[in-house]
Amino acid sequence: MSRILSYGEAINEAIYQSMEDDNKIIVMGQGVNDPNTVLGTTKGLEQKFPGRCIDTPIAEDGMTGVAIGTALAGFKVIHTHIRMDFVLLCMNQIINMAAKMEYMYGGEVNVPIVIKSMIGKSWGQGPQHSQGLYSLFINIPGLRVVAPTTPYDAKGAMIAAIAHKGPVLFIEHRHLHYQKGFVPEKRYGIVPELRKLKEGSDVTLIGVSQMVVECFRAAKILEENGIKAEVIDPIYLSPLDYNNIYKSVKKTKKVIVVDCDWFASSVGADIISSLHESGLDFRSFKMGFAHTTCPTAPSLEKEFYPTAEKIAKEAFFMFEENLDKFKNVDIIREEIEYKGPF
């Protein structure tokens, strides 16, 4: 039972298996049939299902409308974008139409589309090729937002997203595609429940997308400092598993949320304000991208992102304000520095 796939392969398998089971599923997007196959996620689809994996012109607004219209006529459409930054061109169709059609037409129609895109950093992507932006979508009623971190969750979340009646924003992180993990061969979906990656009693660390990995590394550093951190991956950002987050913070009384996005009006802001409303007495801290445009020069870029060390330091500070006592640990990074293709 140790079937290992990469995150990208897991998503590809989810789409492939779903398309095999239901011939009303199609894929659309720029570059779906080119040699890169969107970091492997659309590999083999056009060959196995000819005519169902459609390469599109560079017209994101129009193509999102086309995806919605095709879904309206009884298909399920997976619309893929190479970057989340491009999804900004689709906002009118996503927010004014896809999110609202079922409601404003009194339930007469539904829009089963999955809008999948890639977020996050890699070497020098710079201002317009590195944004998170999912925080904009968690605000909108009618949109489901999911950001899996492990290959197991990536496959399950994609199968569930395709099966979902309404529109889903499916968020992948560029650094995760070659990360490997255990993925069953069978078809399975995962529901909107968080995943606890590490049990702990002292502080809750909640990460979004690749930041879950940073939180996990931070937990290892904190262990060396005598602090037992609980690491949570919410997976679904909308709907968010508030109940189980509450249970964790009720136990630890300390929470740090690390967004893979700017932290204003983010998942962190959402979680922390909800915890306050529930009457819990706790200490909190929001982390995310620095509140600036993302720079390209490496000396600046490394200041922009949260890292395991920064997260561990913030958690440590909640226990001991004298940071000289903080013991930093060299975590072996198996991260692949992604330098392309883009």
Binding site: G51, I68, M104, G106, G107, K165
Partner: protein, 313 residues
């Protein structure tokens, strides 16, 4: 006149009169505040929807704009449900959730209208893509105004339909005005020539009901047979304000004789003169309309506890 012509004229007049009278009744009721959303009336432009939709089959679908009552009724949308929707009642076509600008009647093939200019056009193209994938013989017609021609997404949509060869007819109801702004100040291009570069056939006609009927017939047959997109520009005129029930007398048309000529070109009145015994048709339709407004008045409003129905993540 041949028997065919007479039948055609009666059929067209029935639809034209239904739409004209319904819109006039909506305008009459509007100041009483019984209608709960902004209304954009099709008075003056009815011949476009009627002439086109009369050539469509039941399985063909249409998409439209917030000025969509004419299209909705011309395609066979339920009149009772339309008025109930305007009244904000649970029996409305969208259970009161949409109002005048967002209407739908799936059974009649009216697949939706939208308040934002241009938004239904790419969706209509997507629907046509689905029809082609299914190997269906049906087609899509999408109606939009000259305001939509300003939007980039319309060109993206037409181009996609052209390059992928999709069975869709784009119908531009050019009434020259986007609210108060004339096309002369907004468009450097000529719509029909621009469209000719995106799709496989493009024509421009006046809104004379027979011209619309016959040209639409030809283009619809072309789209269905060749499975390629076409474009029809119909030069028409809106007789009311952009939004609301009031007449608008277009002060920017300096030549008042020109304006009088436009008013004289009212297609509903034009066809009426050709119908034998129009009052017979009219009395039946008047009754239908009266019944629809009564139905709307008597219907229940949506229950306040149902606010979150149809809303989920």
């Amino acid at each position: 006149m041949e028997k065919n012509d007479r039948e055609l004229i009666r059929r067209l007049y029935k639809k034209l009169y239904l739409i004209r009278k319904t819109e006039e009744e909506i305008a009459r009721v509007y100041p009483t505040d019984k209608i709960k959303s902004p209304i954009h009336l099709s008075i003056g432009q009815e011949s476009v929807s009627v002439g086109v939709c009369d050539n469509l089959k039941k399985d063909d679908v249409v998409f439209g704009t917030y000025r969509g009552h004419a299209m909705y009724l011309a395609k066979g949308g339920d009149l009772n449900k339309l008025i109930a929707e305007l009244y904000g009642k649970e029996t409305g076509c969208c259970k009161g959730r949409g109002g005048s600008m967002h209407i739908i009647d799936k059974e009649a093939g009216v697949m939706g209208t939208s308040a934002i200019v241009g938004t239904t056009i790419p969706i209509a193209v997507g629907y046509a893509q689905a029809l082609k994938l299914q190997g269906s013989n049906s087609i899509v017609v999408v109606f939009f105004g000259d305001g939509a021609m300003d939007e980039g997404v319309v060109h993206e949509s037409m181009n996609y339909a052209g390059v992928k060869k999709l069975p869709i007819l784009f119908v531009l109801e050019d009434n020259q005005y986007a609210i108060f702004n004339h096309t002369y100040y907004r468009q450097f291009f000529e719509s029909v020539r621009m469209a000719d570069n995106h799709v496989w056939a493009a024509e421009q006609i006046s809104h004379d009901i027979f011209e619309v009927y016959h040209k639409a017939k030809a283009l619809i047959e072309y789209v269905r047979k060749s499975c390629t997109p076409a474009f029809l520009q119909v030069d028409t005129f809106r007789l009311k304000e952009h939004v609301g029930p009031e007449d608008y007398d277009y002060p920017d048309i300096k030549d008042r004789d020109e304006f009088k000529r436009i008013l004289k070109n009212d297609q509903v009145k034009f066809i009426r003169r050709k119908v034998k015994n129009p009052k017979e048709i009219e009395s039946i339709i008047d009754k239908k309309i009266k019944k629809a407004f009564k139905f709307a008045e008597k219907s229940e409003e949506p229950d306040w506890r149902d606010l979150e129905r149809f809303s989920y993540e």
